[in-house]
C-alpha cells in the first residue's frame, strides 16, 4: 500500500488559537525556519492522520483578510495562489473562534473563493455555554458549503474529528459560498472573458495588491484595460467587504444564537482595572519589576550549578586525558566555551516564559492601549511597546514584530531604537559583571542589590530607547498618514503546552544559533591564545626562570607567571595590547579588550571569550571562571581589574554599544537600506564609548 502525503495549511485571524490547534496536531514535530528572502517565520509540522496518510501542516501567519498589508500577510496569499509551491495546500483549515465568528468568517469567505477544499474549525467551544452561544451546525455547513469541526484546543476536544475531516478532504465542495463579483458585474465579466483559465478571485487579488505569482504576471494585467484608479479600486474593495459581511450577517442570523443575559462581565471588569489611569500603570510596572527580579533570583542556583559543573568537567578532562595540544583544546577551549553558553539557559528560559505568558493571556494588547498616547509623544506607537518588551529577549524578532505598526515613521523609529533595550545576549555580560562588582546584599531586607542593578540597567536601556526616539522624531522629516487599529482579544489563561513549546523553541534557537558562533570563536581564541609569533612566546619558560627576582618563588607561582607571560606574548595578547591605549581610559585591560573585539559579532561572546582567556592563563586551584576574574589584578595600579568603576563602565558600554551583526542585518532587511543599520552602528557605539569613559573617570 502506498503512503500518501498531503499538505494542510492552517490559516486564521490572530487570537483564534490557530497555533494551539497547530500544536495539538503536531506536538513537538515542528520545524521553524524562514520563508526564502524574507524574515517571516515559517512553521511546518508533521502529523500522522491515518496509518497510510501523513500530513505536512503549515502554520501560516495570522491575518484578518486576504488583502495583504504586511509581509506576513503577503506570505499567506503567495502560498495560497502558487500551485507550483512545494507546500501548496491540498486542503485549507480555517481556524475561527466562537466568540468572534462574524469577523473570522470574512477571511473564510475569501478563502472559499480560491477553489481549494476548505474545512472550518470553530475553536474555543468550551466557552460557548459560558457566553450563552448556540450554533446550528447543519445550517452553517449548508450555507458556508464546508465541513465544520468544533474544537477546543485547550481541552483537547475535536482534534481527532479534525484529523478525520482532513483525511476525507476530497468530499468537500470547492464551490464559493457567495458571489462576490456581483459588486461590479461588467468589470468582472470582461475580466473572466480575457483570462478564462484563471480563477476570478485570484485575478482580483493580483489587481488590488502588490503580489506576484509565478504563473501570472502583473504586467499582462496592466497592459489590458483593467486598470482603475486607486480610489475606484478601494471603493470596490469596500463594496466587496460590505457584500461579504451582508452574507455573513444573514447566515449567522439563523446559524448563531447568543443569549446575552448569560454572558458574564468578567472581561469589562478586568479591562476597567488594567486600563485604569492609576492601577493600569501601577500593575504594568509591578509586573515588569517582578519579571526582572525573578530572572535574577530564580536562575541563580541552576546557573551556579552549570558554571561549577563545567569547571570540574574541564579539570577532569585535563587530568584524565593524555597531555598535549588536543587535550588543551578540549579542556581550555571547547568545554569552557560551551559552559559559557549553557550557563545562561535558565535566565533566557525565564525571560521567554514571561513574555509568552503576557502575550498569550491577552494582557499585551491592554498595554498597547494604555501606552499609545504616551508613546506618541516620543514619536512611537502604542504598538512599539511589544517590540520594546520582546526586545528584552532578542532584538531580531522584536524588529520583525514592528511590522504591525501601520505608520512608517513610527515603525522606523521603533526599529532604530529597539536594539537599545536590554536583550538576553547582554544578560550574560551583565550577570557576570554584576556578580563581580555589586555586593550580594539586601536593601530593606527584600530588595536584592544585584537584582536592583539589573533592573536599573533595563530601565536605562528603555530610557535611552525612548530618549533616542524623541530626538529621532524631531530630526527625521517624514510625512506619514497616521492610523492605528489594534484588536483587544479576550483574556485567556495561557495554555501550558503553547508556552512550553515557545520557550523550548526560542531557547533552542539561542543555544544553537549563538552557540555555534561562540563555540567557533572560542576555538579560534584558544588557538590565538596558545600560539605566538615571537621567540619570547616560545622561550617563556627560560625567560621567567632565569630572572633573579623569581628565584625565591614556589613552583606553582612560577608556573602561573609563565602562563601569564605566554598569554601576553600570544597573538591574542598582541591584539589586545594594540587596542589597550584606546580602552584603558575606560578602565579596561587588554584581556577585556580582546573580549570586546570578539563580541562585536555578538555580545554574549564576551563571556565565552573571557572564559577561554582565563582558562588558558590561570592556575588550577581556583577553577571557576568567576573566581578567576574576581582575583585578577592590574599590575600597574595594583587594583582589581573588575572593580566598581571599571565594572560600571563596562556595564554602560554594553548597554549602549551596537554589537550584533544579526540585528544590523535584520534592520537592513526591514528598512531596505544600509543607511539605517550603519547609523545604528556608528551612533550607538560611539555613544557607548563616551558614556563608559565619563563613568570610569568620575568613579575611579
Amino acid at each position: 500500500m502506498t503512503k500518501q502525503n498531503i499538505n494542510v495549511a492552517l490559516i486564521g485571524n490572530p487570537n483564534t488559537g490557530k497555533t494551539s490547534v497547530f500544536n495539538q496536531l503536531t506536538g513537538l514535530n515542528q520545524q521553524v525556519g524562514n520563508y526564502p528572502g524574507i524574515t517571516v517565520e515559517k512553521k511546518v509540522g508533521f502529523c500522522k492522520l491515518a496509518h497510510n496518510i501523513n500530513a505536512n501542516v503549515i502554520d501560516l501567519p495570522g491575518t484578518y483578510s486576504l488583502n495583504a498589508s504586511s509581509a506576513d500577510e503577503s506570505v499567506v496569499i503567495e502560498l495560497l495562489l502558487n500551485k507550483n509551491d512545494k507546500l501548496f495546500p491540498d486542503v485549507i483549515v480555517v481556524v475561527s473562534e466562537v466568540e468572534n465568528l462574524k469577523r473570522n468568517l470574512l477571511l473564510f469567505t475569501q478563502i472559499k473563493d480560491l477553489e481549494i477544499p476548505t474545512i472550518l474549525v470553530i475553536n474555543m467551544i468550551d466557552r460557548m455555554k459560558l457566553k450563552g452561544i448556540s450554533l446550528d451546525i447543519p445550517f452553517l455547513e449548508e450555507h458556508l458549503k464546508t465541513k465544520i469541526v468544533l474544537v477546543s484546543s485547550r481541552k483537547n476536544i475535536g482534534i481527532e474529528e479534525l484529523k478525520t475531516a482532513i483525511t476525507t478532504y476530497k468530499t468537500i465542495t470547492t464551490e464559493a459560498c457567495l458571489n462576490a463579483s456581483s459588486i461590479d458585474d461588467d468589470y468582472f465579466n470582461t475580466l473572466r472573458k480575457t483570462f478564462p483559465n484563471q480563477s476570478l478571485y485570484k485575478l482580483w487579488l493580483v489587481i488590488t495588491q502588490d503580489v506576484n505569482f509565478a504563473d501570472l504576471n502583473r504586467k499582462t494585467l496592466e497592459n489590458e484595460s483593467f486598470t482603475k484608479s486607486k480610489s475606484e479600486l478601494k471603493k470596490l474593495q469596500q463594496k466587496e467587504t460590505i457584500k461579504r459581511y451582508q452574507f455573513i450577517n444573514d447566515t449567522l442570523k439563523t446559524g448563531l444564537n447568543i443569549d446575552s443575559s448569560i454572558a458574564t462581565d468578567f472581561r469589562s471588569k478586568l479591562d476597567r482595572i488594567l486600563t485604569h489611569k492609576v492601577w493600569g500603570y501601577l500593575i504594568f510596572f509591578v509586573i515588569l519589576f517582578g519579571i526582572f527580579q525573578s530572572i535574577f533570583e530564580w536562575s541563580k542556583i541552576p546557573m551556579d550549578f552549570i558554571d561549577s559543573s563545567f569547571a570540574s568537567l574541564s579539570t577532569a578532562a585535563s587530568e584524565n586525558m593524555p597531555p598535549g595540544a588536543f587535550t588543551n583544546l578540549i579542556a581550555q577551549g571547547i568545554i569552557p566555551g560551551i559552559g559559557g553558553i549553557l550557563m545562561f539557559i535558565p535566565q533566557i528560559t525565564f525571560l521567554f516564559l514571561f513574555i509568552s505568558i503576557l502575550e498569550e493571556s491577552g494582557y499585551m494588547s491592554r498595554v498597547v492601549f494604555l501606552m499609545d498616547k504616551i508613546m506618541r509623544r516620543f514619536g512611537l506607537s502604542g504598538k512599539s511597546v511589544v517590540p520594546l518588551i520582546s526586545g528584552t529577549a532578542c532584538a531580531i524578532p522584536a524588529i520583525m514584530a514592528t511590522r504591525n505598526i501601520e505608520n512608517w515613521k513610527e515603525r522606523l523609529i521603533t526599529i532604530l531604537v529597539t536594539p537599545l533595550t536590554t536583550c538576553s545576549a547582554r544578560l550574560p555580560v551583565y550577570a557576570i559583571i554584576i556578580g563581580l562588582v555589586i555586593p550580594d546584599k539586601y536593601l530593606l531586607g527584600i530588595l536584592n542589590l544585584q537584582g536592583l542593578t539589573l533592573m536599573l540597567l533595563y530601565l536605562i536601556g528603555f530610557g535611552m530607547a525612548i530618549l533616542s526616539a524623541y530626538i529621532l522624531n524631531k530630526v527625521l522629516q517624514l510625512n506619514c498618514k497616521t492610523f492605528f487599529v489594534v484588536e483587544m482579544p479576550n483574556y485567556k489563561l495561557p495554555m501550558f503546552k503553547n508556552v512550553m513549546i515557545t520557550v523550548v523553541e526560542k531557547t533552542k534557537a539561542f543555544v544553537f544559533g549563538a552557540g555555534k558562533i561562540i563555540l567557533a570563536i572560542s576555538v579560534v581564541l584558544w588557538f590565538l591564545a596558545s600560539n605566538g609569533p615571537s621567540k619570547d612566546f616560545r622561550n617563556a619558560e627560560t625567560i621567567i626562570t632565569s630572572k633573579t627576582e623569581n628565584a625565591t618563588l614556589s613552583k606553582v607561582e612560577i608556573e602561573n607567571k609563565i602562563a601569564a607571560y605566554k598569554l601576553e606574548k600570544s597573538y591574542i595578547g598582541l591584539m589586545g595590547k594594540t587596542i589597550e591605549p584606546a580602552i584603558s581610559p575606560l578602565g579596561y585591560d587588554w584581556k577585556i579588550g580582546v573580549a570586546i573585539i570578539s563580541s562585536f559579532a555578538a555580545r554574549e561572546v564576551f563571556v565565552g571569550t573571557l572564559a577561554t582567556i582565563y582558562s588558558v592563563g590561570g592556575s588550577d586551584n581556583d577553577n571557576t571562571i568567576r573566581n578567576r576574574m574576581k582575583e585578577e589584578i592590574n599590575p600597574e595600579t595594583d587594583q582589581k581589574i573588575f572593580n566598581f568603576a571599571s565594572g560600571i563602565s563596562l556595564l554602560l558600554f554594553y548597554a549602549f554599544a551596537m554589537q550584533c551583526i544579526s540585528t544590523l542585518a535584520v534592520t537592513k532587511k526591514e528598512t531596505n537600506s544600509w543607511k539605517w543599520p550603519l547609523g545604528q552602528l556608528v551612533f550607538m557605539s560611539s555613544f557607548a564609548y563616551i558614556v563608559a569613559l565619563i563613568a570610569y573617570q568620575l568613579l575611579k
Partner: protein, 77 residues
Amino acid sequence: MKTTIANLRKGEKAIIKDFDADIIPLKLLEMGCLPGNTVQLLQIAPFGDPLYLNVNGSHLAIRIETAREIEVDCITK
C-alpha cells in the same frame, strides 16, 4: 454639528453612518466597521486617547483622529 465616534460617551451605543472610504483604512472595514453596524464605546484610555470599541462584536482600539472621521447616529434608549 455631526456626531462621530469621538463624541460618544463611555458605554454609549450608536449606528455607523456612511463615511469616506478613502480616509478609513480597509483593515478597519474588514474588522467590521461598516455602515449600518452598531458600535459601542467601551473604554477611553488615560489622557483621552485611544478609544476602545465594540464594533459589530469585534473588540478593537482606534485613535481619536480616526474616530472623528466615522459619523454615527446615537441609539436613544
